[in-house]
């Protein structure tokens, strides 16, 4: 029952926002997103609800959503980030803008909750649409191209994944004689060896493009660069998680044997992306791009944790997903403020903005430190768990991950120093306004809380990852 509220509030709210006048659209959207956060809190303290309705009985498709430990905090992340993004948006974007943002929230909620493969796919494609229109209508000069790139590249992966989805269901039907799209029941399929790599690849490709993981990040620089800051923070903070979440939610149960078989190849692939992202971040001159490539690198780190196929690595990845969403989302919002103040995105040498805007500098430093993995903040805990998972059997990759942490410190501090420190060679800018601090403080608090108390998330996540952990144990105690 709670699920109906969780999905219904943003969906109905989106249309309510569309119906009110432009002047009050932002306030309406804020209220709706706020109610959604309250609904999520009710979810958190209340019983762990599921929604399971028959949808298309002829094909065994069910409208089945669950908030297990894996999804729970990503749902929370979506609720919080949507609220913050709406707060950070300009009121003059108009009601259509807020309609799409709330619609995006609805689609993401569904995506993270779905445990029926068909339903998962529906929401998987649905999240693309609002972002496409937001990029088309409310972004920079090259926004239209960015929107096309975003949709076409993502749908390229998604549509091949659709073949995979159907193929998996068809194979299940041929194995058992009846239809089901329930992810939990699609395990242990007898897939013919010829079809196996293709089906596996179709899923992996879609997830890799959405995340994005190297080398499928072609849409990323344009989309992150052109989108208005709140949208960048939503895409980077929330939607990018959908890709790696897909590996956990869909591939781990369905393709557990294949994941084990291709493990080395997958690890090499994401490790390349990890290093690539980090070094690309180091050499960027555009501050949004630094963060974009940093995000690419972090997502590779999360994928590395998943492909370690150890309990510690997977739990670490789950944890880092939530943490990374908050950190990178916050970072993009702050960069948005900086961009608005100085009028461009380049940072050359030192600009010394901290002289005139100490509060801005402080919050920037906080989010940058969180992103580079300072102990005590959540980035560190997640990366630690991932490396711990890797050390046992894949020590080379653990080494690479450790090395990239050092590079992360390099590019993040370079960014911070470049913008904030030194003797000012740019005109001083206004500091953060009271309203902006109002939404930065709760985010910072959330980051601190999960940083010092990671068990709050991991203890929830472990039971949900039971299957994964169980599978790892099956491989002969390689844990």
């Amino acid at each position: 029952m709670l699920w109906i509220f969780l999905l219904g509030i943003p969906l109905v709210g989106a249309f309510v926002t569309l119906a009110v006048s432009n002047g009050v659209a932002k306030v309406t959207a804020e209220v709706i997103a706020g109610i959604e956060v309250l609904a999520f809190i009710a979810f958190l303290v209340g019983p762990r609800a599921t929604l399971d309705l028959s949808w298309i009985p002829a094909w065994g498709i069910r409208f089945h959503l669950t908030a297990d430990g894996l999804a729970l905090f990503l749902l929370g992340l979506t609720a919080v980030m949507s609220l913050v993004a709406i707060f950070a948006s300009k009121a003059d974007y108009g009601r259509t803008y807020f309609f799409w943002v709330l619609f995006l929230e609805f689609a993401s909620m569904g995506l993270f909750g779905a445990v029926d493969l068909f339903l998962f796919y529906v929401f998987w494609e649905l999240v693309l649409i609002p972002v496409f229109f937001l990029l088309t209508g409310w972004s920079g000069a090259r926004g239209r191209l960015a929107a096309l790139k975003w949709l076409i590249m993502n749908l390229f992966g998604s549509l091949f994944m659709l073949i995979g989805v159907v193929a998996v269901a068809v194979i299940y039907q041929q194995n058992t004689g009846h239809f089901s799209f329930e992810i939990a029941s699609l395990t242990h399929l007898a897939i013919s060896p010829a079809a196996q790599p293709w089906i596996f690849g179709s899923f992996a490709l879609a997830f890799a493009i959405k995340a994005p993981l190297w080398p499928f990040h072609g849409w990323m620089p344009d989309a992150y660069g052109e989108a208005p800051p709140p949208i960048t923070s939503l895409v980077a903070g929330v939607l990018s998680k959908a890709g790696v979440f897909g590996f956990l939610r869909v591939m781990l149960p369905i393709f557990a044997p294949e994941l084990a078989r291709y493990q080395t190849g997958l690890l090499i692939w994401v490790a390349v992306g990890l290093v690539y992202g980090a070094f690309m971040a180091v050499r960027q001159r555009d501050m949004k791009m630094v963060t974009a490539y940093a995000s690419l690198s972090h997502l590779s780190m999360i994928a590395l944790g998943i492909f370690s196929l150890t309990a510690a690595g997977i739990v670490g990845a789950t944890f880092l997903m939530v943490a990374h969403g908050l950190m990178v989302g916050g970072l993009f919002l702050i960069l948005g403020v900086v961009e608005e103040r100085i009028g461009h995105r380049e940072f050359n040498g030192v600009m010394g903005l901290n002289q005139g805007a100490p509060r801005l500098a402080t919050y920037f430093l906080f989010f940058a430190l969180a992103a580079l993995g300072l102990p005590g903040l959540p980035g560190f805990a997640g990366e630690y768990m991932i490396i711990q998972g890797l050390v046992a059997h894949e020590v080379v990759f653990a080494g690479i991950a450790g090395f990239v942490l050092v590079v992360a410190a390099w590019y993040m501090l370079r960014l911070f120093q470049g913008i904030m420190q030194g003797r000012p060679n740019a005109p001083a800018v206004a500091d953060l306004s009271r309203g902006q601090v109002a939404w930065l403080v709760p985010m910072a608090l959330l980051i601190v809380v999960i940083g010092v108390w990671p068990a709050g998330i991991t203890s929830q996540a472990v039971p949900s990852l039971f299957h994964a952990v169980h599978f790892v144990a099956d491989r002969g105690g390689k844990n």
């Binding site: 569309l18 009985p57 002829a58 259509t96 796919y121 529906v122 494609e125 659709l162 068809v170």
Partner: protein, 470 residues
């Protein structure tokens, strides 16, 4: 005889409307009302036959089954929506409603045909009024469209008729539902005949490489007529192709299944590819219609009950999306006949609701979830994979991807901020147009969000393979 009451009602409506047009030339919309009511009555009557067990009637020349009833409903929807799009528009001429009714009658005939002669009568009944309707605005472009359509239509009819003659020579029967029982002696004749008949129908369905006439004809014809061609003709031609192959050549799918499969992939990709650079929206929709014909062929190529169901299912979301898009074009064009991409500029800010309708229609064409188009593509994919034809599945995906470019460009135009186009500024809503758009949007989203009822209905319809025993 009772099974043909929908056809009789529609024919009666057409005649009555013709009389009304001639006798009472000053009564506005009288002909339209008569035809509309006849269509409604025919639809209701056809629906009341739903419980029918499949049977052959009229000396085995027509088949009445759930499939034919669904076809009747679909083409009546196409006809009624075209009629409503042409409502109040005197410049199309007073004869438009009866002509449309006769064309729809031809489509209904195709839905029931079990005999080659009936097929031919159906195709001619469908085409002849459309030749006239294409020129009904009496513009240069309309005349060109009509002439092209007439010449190529006559050409394809000739090929079709020749093929039928050969088939008759090979089997000494025109009732194609009994062909599997005959297993003709002269297969050489049989296959040439089938090939020619396929080419003839492919012209009507606009399958690549027989698609060249489509863009010009779509562009030159008045928008309501284009809509009827895009929706109704496609239903009629697709259905008769399926019925001919599935009934008449049941056992020999090895020979035609592959051919249709290749044509399907070719059509999906080429049609959508050619749609990408179009600036005139009606041309764009023409090419997109070619692409969608390719998707329909997938259902036939799989040669399974699933495929037949999927094709039947796909027709409805396709038609509803066409209703949405053509409805919007009709409102934008006003007194003109042309809508280009740049006429859409700024519509999202100036006419948000109309823009929303266009977005829904285009996204359904593109196959985005929560629209009917997605479920249709999903159904086709399922049929392709159940038939162990992954090539078709990949074809669907590639065709869809290519089509995306075509459908996204108009949508991006909607959000162009710089200036609002004049046509959008002076646009006027009409009640009839609003009805069409309402039905289209509710239907598209309804099928997308809750497809179970339609899946159920369609799944009952194609269980006609019992007939193949002869």
């Amino acid at each position: 005889m009772g099974y043909l009451i929908p056809e009789v009602l529609l024919a009666g409506g057409a005649l009555l409307a013709l009389l009304a047009v001639a006798m009472l030339p000053n009564a506005k919309n009288l002909g339209s009302w008569i035809v509309l009511l006849a269509m409604l009555a025919a639809g209701v009557d056809a629906a009341s036959m739903w419980g029918v067990t499949a049977k052959l009637i009229m000396s085995d020349t027509m088949a009445i089954d759930k499939y034919s009833i669904l076809v009747t409903e679909f083409v009546l929807l196409a006809g009624a929506s075209s009629l409503l799009l042409a409502w109040n528009a005197d410049r199309f001429g007073a004869e438009l409603p009866p002509l449309m009714a006769i064309s729809v009658l031809g489509m209904m005939t195709l839905g029931t045909a079990a005999n080659l002669m009936v097929v031919f009568v159906g195709i001619e009944l469908l085409s002849l009024p459309l030749y006239i309707l294409a020129a009904s605005t009496r513009t240069r472009a309309g005349g060109e469209a009509a002439l092209k359509y007439l010449l190529l239509g006559a050409f394809s009819s000739g090929i079709l008729l020749f093929g039928m003659a050969l088939l008759y020579g090979a089997t000494s029967s025109l009732t194609f539902v009994v062909y599997p029982a005959i297993t003709a002696a002269n297969t050489w004749l049989l296959w040439s005949g089938l090939g020619l008949v396929l080419v003839g129908i492919a012209f009507k369905l606009a399958i690549v490489p027989f698609h060249m006439w489509v863009p010009d004809v779509y562009e030159g014809s008045p928008t309501p007529v284009t809509h009827l061609m895009a929706f109704g003709t496609k239903v009629g031609a697709a259905i008769i192709l399926l019925r001919l192959l599935a009934f008449g050549f049941y056992g020999q799918d090895g020979s035609w299944g592959t051919l249709i499969g290749y044509l399907a992939v070719l059509t999906m990709i080429v049609g959508n590819l050619l749609a990408v650079p179009q600036l005139n929206l009606k041309r764009l929709l023409g090419y997109s219609g070619i692409g969608h014909a390719g998707f329909l062929l997938v259902g036939i190529a799989t040669h399974s009950v699933d495929g037949a169901n999927a094709m039947m299912f796909y027709l409805l979301p396709y038609g509803l999306a066409a209703m949405a898009v053509f409805g919007v074009l009709r409102l934008i064009e006003g007194q003109g006949d042309e809508v280009t991409l740049s006429d859409l500029r700024g519509m999202a800010y100036r006419r948000p609701w109309l823009a929303a309708v266009l977005i829904v229609g285009m996204l359904s064409f593109a196959g985005i979830p929560l629209t009917g188009g997605f479920v249709g593509k999903f159904f086709l994919l399922q049929a392709a994979l159940f038939a162990s034809q992954p090539g078709l599945a990949v074809g669907i995906v590639v065709g869809t991807l290519v089509g995306l470019f075509a459908y996204l460009r108009p949508l991006q135009m909607l959000f162009q901020r710089t200036e609002v186009s004049a046509k959008v500024q002076h646009l006027r809503w009409s009640v009839a147009g609003a009805v069409v758009l309402g039905v289209a949007v509710v239907g598209t989203i309804g099928i997308g969000v809750y497809p179970a009822p339609l899946v159920h209905i369609v799944s009952q319809s194609a269980n006609f393979y019992w007939l193949t025993g002869g």
